[in-house]
């Protein structure tokens, strides 16, 4: 018990008190080779998600550079059509499935959410770790295929009939399908962890009405993941069955339908855009509040907008299919729905502007990236409004105009806020400040490079240059704009190199950050940087939306949680009244072993359906190993148990 000891505030925790020592012993993270695979703490897994996703951002960037290099002049023979098909498919698949969602939703979410909630770990930490290893498995399958000349070559959405058995023999499309299974199971696992953490592990006092906007957005995204990702798993699963065992879901000759695939895919695909964008908006809301030095203006409208975006995002998927000859009525409906989504997004924009306008804005490095987001995402949003109109969409469908649009939306909505977030939480994660000068160079190089490349693509699209062609004739007069577009890659690459140099330099000699270098209000800034393994010396309570700004100095803390086992507090979903205590299951190698057996079954099923019955027993064994109860408590638990029904 901890009550007898003097109460030390979380921000005064030096790690030297008796309680801190006991907690550090209880929450210690496993060491050594096997320990690396047994670690289940959210800060560790969150960083792994982020680092891994960033590596795939770089790899996806290399592929993008290859595309721009190939298109720099007409009739270029640098990359042949077969490799080019693989390169653009790998680029899109890598950026969406291996970078954007794992970085913006999983990486940031897993690291930040428990700290913002005031929790000592994420809910279901083993499921969280399992999700990470499965994500890595999917990434290795996709890239393993690519380096062995079996990379998918059917576009990142793998439309049938091109990806079906008749037009794509071999295993390229199968690899794409199974990569989807890997990464989506991973995202679904993390969605369960994050949603449960937000709903059950918030600090007492952090009612729904006081929840940081970032937590609201993570909750909405988790729900979007839970309801959207099954659609792509069904789509890719049925595609795999058509290819592997001869079903006919997408074969019109046998009663199947190719548009069914598009419906299933885009029912996932459009919510996916918001699954990528909303984490960016969440970062921006957090930063705008912090650097405007005032409470965010329009908390309720922003929360309502986020929830509305989550819902409306599920009713616009058909605008990706305007060129398929759908009935006019449904085209009109989906145009209206697509235009409607401007309202909640616009509302958020106005709230951010109003907050900055009425606050005392500090243009620090993370905020610079937010301004990049405002500019870039706004342009992407405006061209999105244009594309929601059926006649415009038909005119520029599958041209570089669409490519320009979605890069403005996705890079604007994800990459710029990502860098803002990295610079913002870098001190918390590493304990050191990132260098501002290098960060500013990084921003301008990337910003100039990005706009040079992608603004130009609008005009290439309007001049009729189609996507996914490996070359073009000199008589099309597209070379000048292609050279301009490709030149932007040089700046973006230079910007990324400056960023990497900044990270390496700052890790070694960056200024020591302290607990709260930005003077932010969130609970994640109340403990030392980087956080101790137990996160909070005392689970905090809060009395306002901005705890570190508003709470009185002697804001109460939670006592009575055991420090000899990993006890956590479970609170009510709505009003956060403490309800009961739970126990964190602690480190385990089993999630990693389960990920291995599941991966083996998934990979095997690319080649034979027998991989399912043969692969199932090892999966079952490892899952039993994972879930079989072990003596986690030094004292016999039943004698100390109190039950609530």
């Amino acid at each position: 018990m901890t009550v007898a000891e003097p109460i030390i505030a979380n921000d005064q925790d030096t790690g030297k008190s008796e309680l801190a020592r006991r907690l550090a012993r209880t929450w210690c993270q496993p060491k050594g080779f096997l320990g690396w695979f047994s670690n289940t703490h959210h800060t560790v897994i969150g960083i792994r998600f982020m680092v891994t996703a960033f590596i795939f951002l770089l790899l996806g960037g290399v592929l993008a550079a290859m595309i721009r290099l190939q298109l720099i002049r007409p009739e270029n023979s640098l990359i042949g059509p077969d490799l080019y098909n693989q390169v653009f498919t790998m680029h899109g698949s890598t950026m969406i499935f291996l970078f954007a969602v794992p970085m913006m939703f999983q990486g940031f979410g897993v690291y930040i959410v428990p700290l913002m909630c005031g929790a000592r770990n994420i809910a279901f930490p083993r499921l969280n770790a399992f999700s990470y290893y499965l994500y890595v498995g999917g990434a290795l399958v996709l890239w393993g295929g690519f380096v062995t000349n079996t990379g998918p070559d059917v576009g990142w959405f793998a439309y049938v009939p091109l990806s079906g058995p008749a037009y794509s023999p071999g295993h390229r499309a199968d690899i794409w399908s199974q990569m989807i299974t890997f990464t989506e199971v991973s995202a679904l696992g993390v969605a369960i962890c994050i949603a449960t953490t937000i709903l059950r592990h918030r600090a007492p006092g952090m009612t729904l009405n006081r929840m940081p906007i970032l937590l609201w957005e993570k909750l909405v995204i988790s729900m979007a993941v839970i309801f959207a990702m099954p659609a792509v798993m069904i789509a890719s699963g049925l595609l795999l069955l058509d290819r592997l065992v001869g079903t006919h879901f997408f074969n019109p000759a046998q009663g199947g339908d190719v548009l069914l695939y598009q419906h299933l895919f885009w029912f996932f695909g459009h919510p996916e855009v918001y699954i990528i964008f909303l984490p960016g908006a969440a970062i921006v809301s957090t930063l705008v509040e912090c650097f405007s030095r005032r409470r965010i203006l329009g908390y309720t409208p922003i929360v309502v907008s986020v929830v509305a975006t989550g819902f409306i995002g599920f009713s616009v998927w058909v605008h990706h299919m305007f060129a398929t000859g759908l009935p006019q009525l449904s085209e009109s409906f989906f145009t209206a729905a697509s235009l409607m989504i401007v309202i909640p997004t616009g509302l958020q924009f106005f709230c951010w502007v109003a907050t900055m306008w009425t606050g005392r804005l500090q243009l620090q490095l993370p905020m610079l990236w937010c301004f990049g987001f405002f500019f870039v995402f706004l342009i992407g949003g405006l061209s999105g409004v244009m594309l929601a109109s059926v006649p415009v969409d038909l005119q520029v469908h599958d041209t570089y105009f669409v490519v320009a649009h979605f890069h403005y939306v996705l890079i604007g909505g994800a990459l710029f806020p990502m860098f803002a977030g990295i610079y913002f939480w870098f001190p918390k994660i590493t304990g050191r400040m990132a260098n501002t000068t290098l960060g500013t160079w990084h921003f301008w190089l990337f910003f100039i490079g990005f706009n040079t490349t992608f603004f130009t693509l609008h005009f290439l699209g309007l001049r009729g240059m189609p996507r996914r062609v490996y070359t073009y004739g000199a008589d099309m007069h597209w070379q000048g704009l292609n050279v301009l577009a490709s030149s932007g890659v040089v700046f973006m690459t230079a910007g990324l190199l400056v960023f990497l140099a900044n990270v390496i330099r700052s890790l070694r000699m960056g200024k020591i950050a302290g607990n709260n270098p930005w003077g932010d209000a969130g609970l994640e800034w109340s403990m030392s940087s980087p956080p101790p393994p137990y996160n909070f010396l005392h689970v905090p309570t809060v009395s306002g939306r901005d705890p570190l700004w508003e709470d009185p100095p002697d804001q109460p803390v939670v006592v009575g949680l055991r420090d000899d086992i990993r006890e956590t507090l479970v609170t009510h979903s709505l009003d956060t009244d403490p309800q009961h205590k739970d126990e964190d299951p602690g480190p385990s190698i089993w999630p990693f072993l389960t990920a291995l057996t599941v991966s083996a079954a998934f990979v095997g099923s690319i080649f034979t359906p027998w991989a399912v019955p043969i692969g199932a027993p090892p999966v079952i064994v490892t899952m039993i190993g994972w879930l079989w109860p072990r003596g986690q408590s030094p004292t016999p638990r039943p004698s100390g148990e109190i039950w609530v029904r």
Partner: protein, 222 residues
């Protein structure tokens, strides 16, 4: 029994009554007397199970949508096949309905700490799941189509195959919980797990009955 059951034990706010009252500067919120095992909706695994059922339910819903979508691509339904034979399907539907009884029993007795009843209930539930799985094998033989015949057949096989995957998963989970119930490890948290297992069984039964309506019902009147 060493455990004691308390319906609701509030945390203590120093001299405070509730967290939502104005704060009068207490220093601590003592949670030491809070329960360490929660049943029903308070349990975090219960919530995860709800999310899991939402994911799986979404998958079933999309497959149902696929079934009806493909129906619009064909003039005859089933196209050139006899509808699946009713014998095993109807028998299995009845088994599912009767299996709700042991699931309900486990769910009801677990919060009481009645390990013996839970153990017996899990055994009966596992037997029901085992029999349902055996009948499911026969169901596959009387579908009157093969998955590679046409899109209709593919959908029927995937629908029933998907549900069979859930059935077998649930069978294994129930067997594992039964094995745990034979050991001293069947304490509070595991009893809560047994109750949650019943919730999941309900889900398997409900989706199974909907699949039955599609496969055995709509092929006869749609």
């Amino acid at each position: 029994m060493a455990t004691r059951a308390i319906s609701d034990t509030p945390a203590k706010w120093g001299d405070m009554g509730s967290i939502n009252e104005p704060i009068r500067r207490p220093l601590t919120l003592d949670v030491s007397s809070l329960p360490s095992v929660a049943f029903g909706h308070r349990n975090t695994t219960w919530l995860a199970n709800v999310f899991y059922m939402a994911i799986e339910g979404m998958m079933f819903a999309l497959m149902f949508a696929t079934y009806f979508y493909l129906r619009t691509r064909s003039t005859d339904w089933p196209p050139g096949h006899l509808p699946p034979a009713l014998t095993y399907g109807v028998t299995n539907a009845l088994i599912f309905v009767f299996s709700l009884a042991p699931a309900w029993w486990v769910r009801r007795r677990a919060p009481e700490g009645d390990r013996r009843a839970v153990r017996n209930g899990l055994l009966v539930l596992a037997l029901f799941a085992l029999v349902a799985t055996a009948f499911r094998v026969f169901e596959f033989t009387t579908l009157n189509c093969r998955w590679s015949d046409d899109a209709y057949s593919s959908t029927v096989w995937v629908l029933i195959g998907m549900h069979s995957g859930h059935l077998v998963t649930e069978l294994i989970e129930t067997l594992v919980l039964f094995a745990i119930s034979l050991t001293p490890k069947m304490e509070g948290t595991r009893l809560a797990d047994a109750a949650i297992n019943s919730d999941y069984w309900y889900f398997v039964v409900i989706t199974g009955l909907i699949v039955d309506v599609l496969i055995y019902g709509t092929t006869r009147f749609l």
